[in-house]
Amino acid sequence: MKVVAKTANEAMAEAMRQINPDVVAAYPITPSTEIVQIFSRFVADGEVDTEFVPVESEHSAASACTGAAAAGARVMTATSSQGLALMNEVLFVTPALRLPIVICAINRTLSAPINIHCDHSDTMDQRDSGWMQFYVEDSQEAYDSVIQAVRITEEAFLPAIVSADAFILSHSLQRIEMLEDEEVQDFIGEHKTPYSVLDVDNPITVGPLDLQDYYFEHKRGEAEAMRKTPPIIKKVDREFGERFGREYGLIEEYRIKDANKAIVVMGSTAGTAKEVVDTLRQDGEKVGVVKVKAFRPWPREDINKSLEGLEYVAVMDRAEGMNGFGSPLFTEVRSSLYEIDKRPDIYGYVYGLGGRDVKPRDLKKVFDDLKKVESGKKIERVNYLGVRE
């Protein structure tokens, strides 16, 4: 183990080096460019055995990655924002073919207006594509999650996106503990593939036409594969924790046990929320945080278990759902809670779009709002935090 200072971009590139994938096909885009840039240097310096394919677009990157995975290769790539959006067509193909690929994504907002800074609209755009999605709080979690994702994807035979907040994480130096190369190799083990088009003794056809008579059955199977991922993720995470001392879960509860109010949040803002909770706890307020790490699969049972019995909950979305109501995390949490008897009163907050800074005082305001509700005042069901009226 060695302690180093790394940005999330550097940390994920280092994880890729230690994983030593067979194929990386990628196209640069701000703010994830650095991941591929650093990794291409590892390729040039002979530090990895990877076949590096500098393609002409992200659509081609996703296509080359999917093809390589179908050939039985261990495959990774990195992208952001418009790049992820351009991959969209192919991203629905990869999980349907049940191919394990890991994308290191840096969460940057989608145009328009054009903006290179952080929000979660790019990965939210892919929420129904069939990829697992893991949002991280810091560089350490980015590094650990990329390594875990290799094992998870190869046990679930579904691909995963590990995403870190643009600039806030991608370009900020943080202290991380890096594993030894051998420890990473030992943890991820031999590459597992569901099939290989290069296996000439067992000829197969990948991606054939599939009409009214079988398409539905194939999608049903894909849906089941996603349903089966939570225990796989928990098992790999637990093993990682046992070996290296860091464990994350599908969600993380922070000072939630005796709380009556909580913020549900994803990504780097979880760190800010914990800070605010610590301050408010000093004043005797019973507040907590639930950090959602896995957005896909949706951790319904874990969310319900952790929010049942709470009185007031604010769900923070760093994306606008454009459905005329609430954003994706809010609607998912609220929908899950419908099954339990002791449901908290729940409010949605859209925040931080286009990289708008979120300070501790902003999150304190959210808890202040919940206190107002507690004292009998009415507030809007869905609110916009930090926008000028």
Binding site: A96, R98, G221, E224
Partner: protein, 96 residues
């Protein structure tokens, strides 16, 4: 009798086809609409241009001789009739 269709739990992973040559089981001839090719054996010189151009491998050839059409796979595109240099293939209404 039609093959019993499998349920979702019985299918190979990733929607792959795990046997070679299975496209023969997919009888695309029922996509044909309205007209089909017929051969005038008296005119045919067995040049086999129809066999070369048919996009569905639906021309039956035996001992270098044009024998007719696999109507289970012919989609009725008419390329064979168009390519035949001596007009030995005619597209006719399906009923005939």
């Amino acid at each position: 009798m039609a093959e019993k269709k499998r349920g979702w739990k019985e299918l190979p992973i990733g929607a792959i086809i795990d046997e070679a040559g299975s496209s023969e089981k997919f009888k695309t001839g029922d996509w044909r609409e309205g007209r089909k090719p017929v051969l005038n054996k008296d005119k045919c010189t067995n040049c086999l241009l129809c066999w070369i151009f048919c996009p569905d491998s639906a021309i039956i050839v035996s001992n270098n001789e044009m024998k007719g059409f696999k109507y289970d796979y012919c989609k009725g595109c008419g390329i064979c009739a168009n390519q035949c240099p001596i007009g030995a293939i005619e597209m006719v209404p399906e009923e005939e």
